[in-house]
Subunit: 338 residues, 2 copies
DNA sequence: GGCTGGCACTCGAAAGTCCTGAGTGCCAAG
DNA sequence: CTTGGCACTCAGGACTTTCGAGTGCCAGCC
């Protein structure tokens, strides 16, 4: 039972610290939370918690502050993700349902997430890798130049300009269009790419076909789009006027490094597991005072991309986790329907 | 001649202040710049400049700082835009020539501009309004559902999902595709929209045609894309650790308000005029300590979108102006070729 | 054994004080 | 018009003092 109270104390410390941004002392603690014991008792507990590494004192005579380990425990054992209010749910639904295409869904999600959590939100665009080919369109812009449009099952549209080495006639164009579509439609892009490549013998084939196939294969294996992300809510960083150098500056710099952000979000696994990475647990030393709350999303069981929020270690974890999870679910549902 | 020297003094003050971020005094001024007079003389000039409102003292006994009016004069009369070094020119060329499509051009421009100026860069996506229809594609996703793809002369691709009220057969689809393409291709989108609308009599027409036309017209008149912009280099704001509240915070907040940024960039006029808006000259009071250097860009003589940088009033105007102009020219040239 | 009140102690933050030097304005002389 | 000289101002840094929130520990109590 003392054990239980200690955890209660830790929870109280985390909650107060997150709320006030100031080290919390024993007296304030008993006043604000109704733990039925005296400050002295709490002090003993705090000493114990400190020994175990869950909290520290910034300086000798000040209140306690949770350590990364403390937050970890808080997240793992003391948090029940509070469900979103029905008003919030409705807001999510209305905002996301208004989206007109995939890009719009992503952009709306970012804004939404940033607003809900008042943190920096990051959403990865769905990756190509698991999507199938829905349609390929060839548009003649000039006798020797084509616009190749690749439409995928996720709604993503990739477009490329091709300079053919030679002229192409209308009939030829129709034939080619039929050919590539027959070959690729319905296939997962990896398979589509190999099938297309097989159309062109190693030694030759017509220059035109070769050019078009090359560009399609390139577009399909282009992992640039795997790395595309949308970022929003940078303005929320302004709230952390204090701790500017330690927390805001490095984060601000990281925000433009999409590779870094991707790594922070983590790998997209299947299943919908919510990941919380606290401070030093992350891969970047400079970001040791920022945490990441992220999860995968995608239609059905597949998680083909991730989304989440990035903020200071001192953040409202339950709230953030709830928001991230809720938005991910909604986005997944929308992708399901599409 | 005293008049001339006074301007020299103003220029020296601006340059020093921009470089050092500290109020500049008479003594330091004569030392660092080779004006062949004594500090006392400079002091007289400074007093005069202050009377006329070009500079002020932050407090009684400190150096002088340029006012917005001072910067204005500096930009208008004391600045010759220094041409970019050939190395810089080459860098611009290589980076922008590597772009694969319109979006990529815009995104690369933003990064480039941010790097060159070490400020926040903003690039508006080319507006729809002056572009023509290159091709319209209809893809059947399901018997009652179409993907409508609208390809414009700028390389922009707009896509919409349409729920038809009824099923559509293959032949019907081909006919419809031909019809809309015949009607719209080559037209400026405004004209294309009216022409398309004329296809459907007010009282009826087939539901399918009506649905497709509606969505096309909507896509063509969708001014959402007029408001699309790319932002980059927010990390550069981190350099202004001082003056955080006055300069960085409001700007950081504005960065997400694309409407605000668009207004800052200004209207796209034709011609390539470089606009500099200093501090309070801008439309937003909260941004009274930020300046904007922007210009229009676009193929040929038409400026159909704008790009520029946003930063503190205390910025390197000649350098920023040179970079903005150079990037705009290059982007325009690329659009010319495409 | 655990909880509590009491008490001496620590030490950061805020407020007060002093001092220095960069910078100014003005004046009389060149 | 320029210059050297001079008295004056005042923000910012260094130093000191004060204040109080918070702590650790101990002896007594349940």
């Amino acid at each position: 039972m003392q054990e239980e109270r200690r955890l209660a104390v830790l929870r109280a410390i985390v909650e107060d610290y997150v709320a006030t941004e100031e080290p919390v002392g024993s007296k304030a603690l008993v006043e604000r939370h109704g733990l039925g014991v005296s400050p002295a008792t709490v002090r003993n507990d705090m000493a114990a918690l400190e020994d175990e590494g869950y909290i520290t004192q910034p300086h000798t005579s000040a209140g306690r502050v949770p350590t990364d380990k403390g937050y970890r425990l808080f997240v793992d054992r003391l948090t029940t993700i509070k469900p979103m209010s029905s008003a919030e749910k409705r807001a999510i639904a209305t905002i996301l349902d208004g989206a007109i295409d995939l890009d719009d869904v992503v952009q709306r999600s970012v804004r939404l997430l940033a607003q809900l959590t008042r943190q920096v939100a990051v959403v990865q665009y769905p990756t190509l890798s698991r999507s199938t080919v829905r349609h390929i369109e060839l548009v003649a812009l000039a006798p020797t130049r084509l616009l190749v449009v690749l439409i995928l099952s996720t709604g993503r549209v990739e477009q490329r300009l091709v300079e053919l080495g030679a002229e192409i006639g209308d009939d030829e164009l129709v034939d080619l269009r039929n050919l590539v579509n027959r070959t690729a439609i319905g296939e997962i892009i990896a398979d589509a790419a190999t099938a297309l490549r097989a159309l062109v013998p190693d030694d030759g084939g017509t220059t035109v076909t070769r050019a078009v196939v090359d560009v399609l294969v390139e577009a399909m294996s282009d992992h640039r789009s795997d790395e595309r992300i949308a970022v929003g809510g940078a303005a929320n960083l302004a709230r952390f006027g204090d701790s500017f150098d330690s927390a805001v500056r490095p984060l601000l710099e990281a925000l433009e490094e999409h590779v870094v952000l991707l790594k922070l979000l983590g790998e997209a696994h299947s299943g919908e597991l919510l990941t919380v990475r606290i401070g030093h647990e992350g891969p970047y030393q400079e970001l040791s005072s920022t945490s990441v709350v992220a999860t995968g999303y995608g239609p059905g069981e597949e998680a083909f991309a991730r989304l989440g929020i990035v903020g200071p270690t001192r953040m409202d974890y339950p709230g953030s986790m709830a928001a991230v999870r809720a938005v991910a679910r909604y986005v997944s549902r929308i992708l399901d329907e599409a």
